[in-house]
C-alpha cells in the first residue's frame, strides 16, 4: 500500500494553483501532477484530499478519473509502457512489437509485472507514425521498433533500477 502524505498533496495542489493564472479549473492538471508524484496512479486518499482542497465533491474527481484513459486509481508500474495500436503502426510491425513486449514482460495488456516495474497499456496514435511502430515509456518515446530493440530497451530500463 502506498502511504499518502496529505501535506504533500496539498503542496502539489498549491503548486499547480500557482502555475495557473486565474479562475479556471485546475482539476485535470492537478491529477496529472499527483499521478506523476505517485508513480503513475492516483491513490484514493489523495483523490479525496484533492476534492477537499479544491472544494468540489469527491464524486466529480472520480468521474474525471474514470473518464480519461490516462488516469489510474489502481497502482501501476514505475514505468507505464504504451503501445500504439493505430493503423500506421499496426501495418508496419506493431503487432510483432506487442507480442515481443508481452513475451518479454510475461504480462498481458493492462497488467503490471510482479516486481512493480512495468505496466503494459495500449494507446491510439502518438503522432510519431513517421517512425512507426512506436511505444512510449512514461514520457519517452521510441520509434522504428523491432522485437530485438524491445529486448534492449526493456533491459536498459531494468538496469536503471539496479543502478
Amino acid at each position: 500500500m502506498v502511504k499518502v502524505d496529505l501535506d504533500k498533496v496539498k503542496e502539489i495542489v498549491e503548486k499547480v494553483k500557482q502555475e495557473t493564472l486565474e479562475e479556471g479549473d485546475i482539476l485535470i492538471n492537478t491529477l496529472h501532477a499527483i499521478q506523476d508524484y505517485y508513480n503513475n496512479f492516483v491513490p484514493p486518499e489523495a483523490a479525496e484530499e484533492v476534492a477537499k482542497l479544491l472544494n468540489i465533491p469527491v464524486s466529480r474527481v472520480y468521474e474525471v478519473l474514470s473518464f480519461y484513459s490516462m488516469f489510474s486509481i489502481k497502482p501501476r508500474g514505475k514505468y507505464v509502457i504504451r503501445v500504439c495500436k493505430s493503423l500506421p503502426c499496426h501495418v508496419t510491425g506493431g503487432r510483432e512489437v506487442m507480442e515481443a513486449l508481452k513475451n518479454k514482460l510475461g504480462i498481458e495488456i493492462g497488467e503490471t509485472t510482479a516486481d512493480g516495474m512495468f505496466t503494459l497499456e495500449t494507446t491510439s496514435c502518438l503522432g510519431l507514425c513517421g517512425v512507426a511502430p512506436v511505444i512510449m515509456i512514461n514520457d519517452q518515446s521510441f520509434g522504428n521498433l523491432t522485437p530485438e530493440k524491445i529486448d534492449e530497451i526493456i533491459e536498459r530500463f531494468r538496469g536503471d533500477e539496479n543502478a
Binding site: 491529477l31 473518464f67 490516462m70 504504451r82 493503423l87 500506421p88 491510439s124 502518438l126 520509434g143
Partner: protein, 599 residues
C-alpha cells in the same frame, strides 16, 4: 567572439528523437570539442524537417547538405569528413523520395520544390526553444503590426479576405468565426487552440507545436486582440510531452519579452496564455468536449447550438481554432490577404499540411498548395509506394474520413473535391495503402477505434458502432452472410443521422466509403470466403511450394507453434490446423517457397 563558420541543424522533432537524435547530438558535440571546433561550429536543434522516416536528419549549412539516418556512429564522419575536410559524406546523403540531394540541387529536389511552406515555414530551420530565432524570421512582427497599425475589425477583415478555412477538419471560414466571436456581447472572451490531434496517422499539429511554438502563441494573441479576448488556452494532449515542454518554454520567453501579459508592447491590450493537458480521450478534440475538459469535467460533447462563439468556456464567447489554422495567421497579417488568396483554388485558399504515413516512401510532414493533385502529392513528393507494389487507395481524414481508390489519383486536393469522392480533407492525415491491404480489415480497424473512443453519451454511437464492428468481425472471419452488407449500410446511416457529435456522425464513413469503392472485396469475403488481399487470418492459409522448398528447415525452426514438419533437405509441409498465421515463416524463407493463399 568566435565567428561561426558552419551551422549544423539537427532535427529534434518527436520522430527523430524517438529514432535516437539525443545520442547523435551528444556524440556530435563531443567530436566537435575533440577537434576544438565547438566555438566555430554551431549546433542547433530544430523542429521536424519533414522526412521523419529517414531520421535522425542532420543538415550542414551554409552548404545546405542534408544527411539521413544519422546515428551515434556515423555522425563522426560528418565532423571528420565534411566539417574538417570539406568533403561531403556521399553514403549518408539525404535521398528523399528520388535520388540523392547534393549541395547544388537540394532546393530543386521535388521533395522541396513542390512544397509551399506557410504554416510550417520555420520547421527544421529555427531552434524552437529560442525566441530570438523566431524573431529573426519575422516572428512577432505580425503582432506588432496588428497592435500598432490595425484595428480589430481590420484584422478580421484581413483574415476573412484571405479565405483561410479551419484546418482542424470541418473547414469553417476562419475570419467569419472570428467575426462572430467578436460580435457576441460579453465582458470576457477566450481564445482556445485545439492541439488535441488524435486522428490516427496525423502528426501535423505535433510537428508545428514542437518545431515552432511561438507562431501559435503569436496568432492566438492576435486573435485575442481581434475578438476582444483576455485569455487563451492551448489544449494539448498528454501524449505530446515534448510539445508541452516547448510550449511552456515559449510562453515563458514570450512573457519575458513582453509579447504576453499586461499591456503588450506598451499598448493597453493585455492577454495571456495557459496550457491545459488532455488525458487520453479522443473525443476531447471535439470543440464542446474540449471546453468541458478545460473546465475540469468529463470531456463529453454538448448539443450545438449554442456554438462556442456564442457560449463557450464558462459560458463566455470563445474562439476555438486548430494549431495549423493559427500557424497561418502571422504570414497572412504580414504579407496580406491577397498574397494568401492567390495560392490554392477557388474555394480552398492557401496550403495544407499533410502527414504522409503508411505505404509511401517518404513518410513525414509536407505542406502543399491546395489544388495539387493526389498524384503529385503521393508520387512526386512522397516518392510513391515502396517495394514496387501497386497503390490501392489513400485514406484521408482518419476515422471520420474515407478512402480514395487509386483511379482518382488526379483529383485535386481541396475541401470540395475530396468530399465529392466521399472522403474528407480532415485534419491532414493521409494513409497510403498498397495492394497488400484488405479494405474490410481497414474499415474494421477504424471502427474498432471509434468503438474504443465513443464517449458513450448517445446510444447509436455507443451501441451502433459496436454492432457494425461485430458484423465486420463476422465477415473477416468468414462467417459473413449476404444480408450483412446491407445491414452495415443501414446501421451506418442510422448512426450518422442520430448521433450528437461529429465522432458518431462520421464514424461509419470508413465503412461506407470502402463499401462504395470496394464492394467486390466485401462480397468476396462473404460469398466466396476469400480475402483477396490475403490479410484476414481466418480466410488464408500458409503453404509451401514443393518445387521451391529445398528443405533448409529455417521455417520449421522459426515457427512458434511447431506447425511445420519435414526433415533436412526434404520438402516441408505446414499443418493448417496448428498454424496460427503469424507470418514468421514467410519472412525467413530465402527461397520464396512459402506463400499465402485464400481460401
Amino acid at each position: 567572439m568566435a565567428v561561426s563558420t558552419n551551422t549544423i541543424l539537427i532535427c529534434a522533432g518527436g520522430a527523430c528523437i524517438s529514432a535516437g537524435e539525443k545520442s547523435v547530438k551528444q556524440v556530435l558535440e563531443e567530436k566537435l570539442r575533440e577537434y576544438a571546433l565547438d566555438g566555430v561550429v554551431r549546433v542547433v536543434e530544430t523542429g521536424c524537417m519533414g522526412a521523419c522516416d529517414l531520421g535522425p536528419i542532420v543538415a550542414v549549412f551554409p552548404e545546405g547538405v542534408y544527411y539521413q539516418k544519422v546515428n551515434a556512429e556515423n555522425v563522426k564522419k560528418i565532423v571528420e569528413e565534411h566539417i574538417l575536410k570539406g568533403r561531403v559524406v556521399e553514403e549518408m546523403l539525404f535521398e528523399g523520395p528520388q535520388g540523392k540531394i547534393t549541395e547544388e540541387v537540394h532546393e530543386e529536389h521535388p521533395f522541396f520544390k513542390k512544397q509551399v511552406k506557410i504554416a510550417t515555414r520555420n520547421l527544421g530551420i529555427i531552434d524552437p526553444m529560442n525566441i530570438d530565432e523566431y524573431i529573426a524570421r519575422d516572428g512577432y512582427f505580425a503582432l506588432i503590426k496588428t497592435l500598432t497599425q490595425m484595428s480589430p475589425e481590420e484584422v478580421i477583415e484581413t483574415v476573412k479576405k484571405s479565405g483561410l478555412r479551419g484546418r482542424g477538419g470541418a473547414g469553417f471560414p476562419t475570419g467569419l468565426k472570428w467575426e462572430l466571436t467578436r460580435k457576441s456581447p460579453a465582458d470576457k472572451k477566450f481564445v482556445v487552440c485545439n492541439a488535441d490531434e488524435g486522428d490516427p496517422g496525423a502528426f501535423m499539429d505535433r510537428s508545428i507545436l514542437e518545431g515552432d511554438p511561438h507562431t501559435v502563441l503569436e496568432a492566438m494573441t492576435i486573435a485575442g486582440y481581434a475578438i476582444g479576448g483576455q485569455k487563451g488556452y492551448v489544449y494539448v494532449r498528454a501524449e505530446y510531452p515534448l510539445a508541452i515542454e516547448r510550449l511552456r518554454n515559449a510562453i515563458k520567453q514570450a512573457r519575458e519579452y513582453g509579447f504576453l501579459g499586461e499591456n503588450i508592447l506598451g499598448t493597453d491590450f493585455s492577454f495571456d496564455i495557459e496550457i491545459r493537458i488532455g488525458a487520453g480521450a479522443f473525443v476531447c478534440g471535439e470543440e464542446t468536449a474540449l471546453m468541458n475538459s478545460i473546465e475540469g469535467k468529463r470531456g463529453q460533447p454538448n448539443v450545438k447550438p449554442p456554438y462556442p462563439a456564442q457560449k463557450g468556456l464558462w459560458g463566455y464567447p470563445t474562439l476555438i481554432n486548430n494549431v495549423e489554422t493559427f500557424a497561418n495567421i502571422p504570414p497572412i497579417i504580414i504579407k496580406g490577404a491577397d498574397w494568401f488568396a492567390s495560392i490554392g483554388t477557388e474555394t480552398s485558399k492557401g496550403t495544407k499540411v499533410f502527414a504522409l504515413a503508411g505505404k509511401v516512401k517518404n513518410t513525414g510532414i509536407v505542406e502543399v498548395p491546395m489544388g495539387i493533385t493526389l498524384r503529385e502529392l503521393i508520387y512526386d513528393i512522397g516518392g510513391g509506394v515502396p517495394n514496387g507494389k501497386k497503390l490501392k487507395a489513400i485514406q484521408t481524414g482518419g476515422p471520420s474520413g474515407g478512402c480514395i481508390p487509386a483511379e482518382y489519383l488526379d483529383t485535386p486536393v481541396d475541401y470540395e473535391s475530396l468530399k465529392k469522392l466521399g472522403a474528407i480533407m480532415g485534419s491532414g492525415g493521409m494513409i497510403v495503402m498498397d495492394e497488400d491491404t484488405c479494405m474490410v480489415d481497414v474499415a474494421k480497424f477504424f471502427l474498432q477505434f471509434t468503438v474504443d473512443e465513443s464517449c458513450g453519451k448517445c446510444v447509436p454511437c455507443r451501441e451502433g458502432t459496436k454492432r457494425m464492428l461485430e458484423i465486420l468481425e463476422k465477415i473477416t472471419s468468414g462467417e459473413g452472410e449476404e444480408e450483412d452488407i446491407e445491414k452495415l449500410e443501414e446501421l451506418g446511416q442510422t448512426i450518422i443521422d442520430s448521433s450528437l457529435c461529429g465522432l458518431g456522425q462520421t464514424a461509419p464513413n470508413p465503412v461506407l466509403s470502402t463499401l462504395k469503392y470496394f464492394k467486390d472485396e466485401y462480397e468476396a469475403h462473404v460469398k466466396e470466403k476469400i480475402c483477396p488481399a490475403k490479410v484476414c487470418k481466418s480466410l488464408i492459409r500458409y503453404v509451401i511450394d514443393p518445387d521451391k522448398c529445398v528443405g533448409c528447415t529455417a521455417c520449421a525452426r522459426v515457427c512458434p507453434v511447431n506447425a511445420i514438419s519435414g526433415e533436412v533437405r526434404k520438402i516441408h509441409n505446414i499443418d493448417p490446423e496448428i498454424c496460427t498465421r503469424c507470418g514468421s515463416c514467410i519472412e525467413v524463407c530465402r527461397f520464396g517457397a512459402i506463400s499465402k493463399v485464400s481460401p
